[in-house]
């Protein structure tokens, strides 16, 4: 296999490896994150009821209880359902019109029963689109059903007072949506009064009533205006030993059931922790004939469950944690991310040298210099850098006269550089400028060699060439400084060090770049438009 196809193979390999590892880590992090955000809850129904025999047929009467179970919503999911119902026959049924899932417990034997249901719910801030509001088509029967007057449940759409109010509302509103909004606003004007007697009619007349009646008022008004509406009963999830079901309204608008919470005032979108149980106009537990639910015979409670084991799993010691750099103590993060950023500096260097064609002093000197400037604070770093370079160059120029061998000569410059750094820090401190001690970590060996290289280049190739290299070095160093100093990138590369597989792929790509350098477009320009020689 020749080097080109091997290189291409390596590029593809590194990119794929990087993508797979990046994907794996992203998924693992996301799962842990989700597990942290989600909470598990247990909703418990405790029901006590007495089965009696019906007067008409004392021997074969059936007592039945219809119990609605929680819906899945985008934010709440029912994970499990567990019934304890000794001696009762259980039957499940999904109601056709509303989709409410009912559990029907029945018995033919009189007596007192105490069934219990436990639901595990997961509450999550992320929306699961699967359970989102769906577009529906109401059949003619459904439409009639959701527009009906219901004296038993106190939805008096035919009442004179209601008709009058509806007329006023309809006059002011032109569109169907404005009518709905107007009805909602009217209901929200009803002041809460737990002691208020009567029903919808009284609520409209006195402008005060209980929240439950307020919801019924909204349904009544909508239905009277010819807009299908229904009551929804459910829970708001929070730790409580006695959860009171709350009731809100759903109005059919634009082929969707749109929720309105007349108790708290939410419209169109409900808080994440609302879980509907029964859609349609009834309570959660409906006793049928022959069944008496004694007062306080149903008790709902909600309690929070311990979190998903995935969350705590992350804390356990495992060799895979070696690859998780965020686990390291925070003071190490700066150094680690700076180290991990250095390949990006090398990438910049490679691009500038091989694609642009700018020459620099030393290969990685500019990137290392930039790195030390980030680690120190830039002001102190720059000040000390200038002092060091000035003193170093003057010292080097003077040393030339001593004619020393290379290593001792370099050592003298190194000593000079170190003394400069130390006493600059001391001077700044004396002047009350509080330098950062990290400035001491300027790469002194690199500075020493830079000074030597600059001096030799001036001597050998002339000042112009040396200045050209200096400009190139400063440009690369400045670019590296900008990229390496980018804190978001640093934090990101610490989280996903796999990204360097892409960097390696980029290096291979650059290493196989046989095209012209940008500077060559200038250098060889005379070959394209020959014309006269310059002289």
């Amino acid at each position: 296999m020749n080097s080109r196809s091997l290189s291409n193979l390596a590029i593809v390999g590194f990119i794929m490896l990087g993508a797979v590892l990046l994907g794996l880590r992203y998924r693992a992090r996301r799962e842990a994150e989700i597990a942290r955000q989600d909470s598990l809850w247990e909703l418990t129904y405790e029901i006590r009821f007495e089965a009696t025999t019906t007067p008409s047929d004392p021997t074969s009467g059936i007592s039945e209880l219809r119990i609605a179970t929680p819906f899945n919503t985008p934010h709440v999911q029912v994970l499990s359902e567990d019934w304890t119902n000794a001696g009762l026959t259980i039957e499940r049924k999904e109601l056709l019109q509303s989709g409410t899932k009912e559990v029907r417990l029945s018995t033919t034997r009189p007596g007192i029963y105490a069934p219990q249901a436990d639901f595990t719910l997961r509450l999550s801030p992320r929306a699961n689109a699967r359970y989102g509001p769906r577009l529906e088509n109401l059949s003619r029967d459904d439409r009639t059903f959701y527009l009906r007057a219901d004296q038993k449940r106190d939805i008096p759409t035919n009442d004179d007072k209601v008709r009058k109010d509806v007329q006023t509302l309809s006059q002011a509103a032109t569109t169907e949506w404005e009518k709905i909004e107007a009805a909602f606003n009217l209901c929200m004007e009803i002041v809460t009064d737990p002691e208020a007697a009567g029903g919808v009619k009284e609520a409209l007349a006195n402008k005060k009533h209980t929240p439950a009646v307020r919801a019924r008022t909204m349904v009544t008004l909508c239905r009277a205006m010819g807009i299908p509406a229904r009551l929804v009963t459910g829970f708001e999830i929070s730790q409580t030993s006695n959860a009171v079901p709350r009731t809100w309204v759903e109005v059919f608008y634009n082929q969707r059931w749109v929720p309105f919470d007349t108790e708290s005032g939410y419209r169109q979108t409900l808080p994440n922790d609302y879980v509907p149980v029964r859609r349609g106009d009834g309570p959660i537990v409906i006793p049928l004939e022959g069944t008496i639910a004694p007062d306080g015979g149903e008790r709902f409670s909600i309690r929070v469950l311990p979190p998903n084991p995935l969350v705590s799993k992350g804390e356990a010691k495992h060799p895979f944690q070696i690859f998780n750099l965020e686990r390291l103590p925070v003071p190490m993060h700066t150094v680690m991310s700076l180290l991990l950023l250095l390949p990006f500096g090398a990438l910049i260097t490679a691009v500038i040298r091989n694609v642009v064609g700018v020459q620099t002093f030393g290969t990685f000197a500019p990137a290392l210099l930039a790195m030390s400037f980030i680690y120190a604070d830039p002001e102190t770093g720059l000040a000390i850098f200038l002092i060091v370079v000035t003193v170093g160059l003057v010292g080097r120029w003077w040393l030339e006269r001593l004619r020393l061998l290379m290593v001792p000569r370099l050592s003298i410059i190194l000593t000079l550089v170190i003394l400069c750094v130390v006493f600059s820090v001391s001077t700044f401190d004396f002047m009350g400028l509080t330098p950062s001690a990290q400035a001491v970590l300027l790469p002194m060996v690199i500075l020493t060699i830079l000074i030597e290289r600059f001096h030799v280049t001036v001597e050998e190739d002339g000042l112009m060439f040396a200045l050209k290299l200096t400009v190139g070095t400063l440009v690369v160093a400045a670019l590296c400084y900008l990229v390496l100093g980018w804190e978001e990138v640093g934090a990101w590369v610490l989280t996903y060090p796999e990204v360097h597989f892409f960097t390696i792929a980029a290096f291979i790509l650059l290493g196989r770049y046989a095209g012209y350098r940008l500077t060559e477009l200038w250098r060889f320009r005379d070959l394209i438009e020959p014309g006269e020689p310059v002289r």
């Binding site: 290379m406 002339g462 770049y513 046989a514 095209g515 477009l521 200038w522 320009r525 005379d526 020689p533």
Partner: protein, 322 residues
């Protein structure tokens, strides 16, 4: 023809269409493909190059001494046997760095052709810096060569400023593909390296006659310092020079090299050094790209690029060269 609206840069496809070889392509497709890494010392170390030349009967300047240890530095006058005319150069130097040419003795000091004086201590120091590796590639410990000073052939004098012009031949698969004569300038301080500001004139492969020209990547026709025309000059001993270049290329076993000669007034062309990374400004001197010539050689069967059959390729390679 005057073109006042010169463009500052050209597009890559224009360079590609003109067959211009760029640095990246030179490194990847020619140097790395044709020059084995293990053979590099043969060109990077001039003592080895000289040994190879000796073994193959290729003329090189006489070696007076090779100084490898600091101890030898003090014995330097004895080693050169009181010669007053010699050249000191680092064995692994690049781009003409660290070379001192001594033309005569003035009192107890040594004098360069341009009149700069070096005391014995100065030379000792210079030799020490060479040994310490200041001029060597990668700063490795080096040795210093003291060798015969070449006396410039009178033909060259007209275009030489403050230094000795040298002739570079670029050989691909042992076939000369382009040649130029490199002319020191004031800017290059007597050295014949184009990136230091030296000028160059292209040399016709068949006739050995100069034409074209380049300085600082711009086309020139006259010497930047003297204003003399640099074209139309005939390189003395051109056939011998080409023959020596091919012989050295054969012996070095490297596929893409530049061989540098100087033409001595008495002995004719002698090899100064070989270079595994010859520069690309030669294309500007020729006003033509290298790629078509390299592609042509690549397309030839092995037998066509061996022995004396190579001479037959030269007219074809030189093509339209003026």
């Amino acid at each position: 023809m005057t073109n006042n609206r010169r463009r500052l840069f050209v597009w890559p496809h224009e360079l590609r269409d003109a067959g211009i070889l760029g640095i990246n392509q030179r490194n990847l497709a020619f140097i790395q493909e044709n020059n084995q890494r293990t053979l590099y010392p043969r060109v990077d170390n001039k003592t080895i190059t000289k040994e190879i030349c000796h073994a193959n009967g290729i003329p090189v300047p006489d070696t007076y001494a090779v100084i490898r240890r600091y101890g030898d530095v003090r014995r330097f006058p004895k080693l050169i046997k009181d010669r007053t005319e010699f050249v000191i150069k680092p064995a692994s130097g690049a781009a003409g760095r660290g070379i001192i040419v001594i033309a005569r003795k003035k009192g107890i000091d040594y004098e360069t052709p341009s009149g700069r004086l070096f005391s014995e201590g100065d030379l000792d120091y210079h030799l020490s810096t060479i040994l310490s590796g200041l001029y060597s590639l990668g700063g490795q410990v080096d040795s210093a060569i003291v060798e015969q000073r070449i006396i410039m052939h009178p033909t060259m004098e007209r275009i030489a400023v403050g230094g000795t012009p040298d002739v570079r031949v670029i050989l691909f698969r042992n076939v000369p593909v382009m040649a130029m004569v490199r002319l020191p300038t004031i800017q290059s301080e007597g050295r014949a390296n184009l990136h230091q500001g030296a000028a160059a004139a292209a040399v016709h492969l068949v006739t050995g006659r100069t034409f074209g020209g380049v300085c600082n990547s711009r086309m020139i026709a006259r010497h930047p310092d003297t204003g003399e025309l640099i074209g139309g000059l005939e390189i003395p001993g051109w056939r011998e020079l080409l023959a020596a270049a091919m012989k050295l290329s054969d012996a070095l076993e490297m596929g893409y090299i530049g061989v540098d000669f100087v033409v001595d007034a008495k002995i004719g062309p002698v090899v100064l050094e070989a270079n595994a990374r010859p520069g690309l400004a030669i294309q500007v001197a020729h006003r033509i790209g290298l790629l078509p010539r390299l592609k042509f050689i690549e397309s030839l069967p092995r037998e066509a690029v061996q022995g004396n059959r190579r001479w037959d390729l030269l007219p074809r390679l030189a093509g339209d060269d003026a």
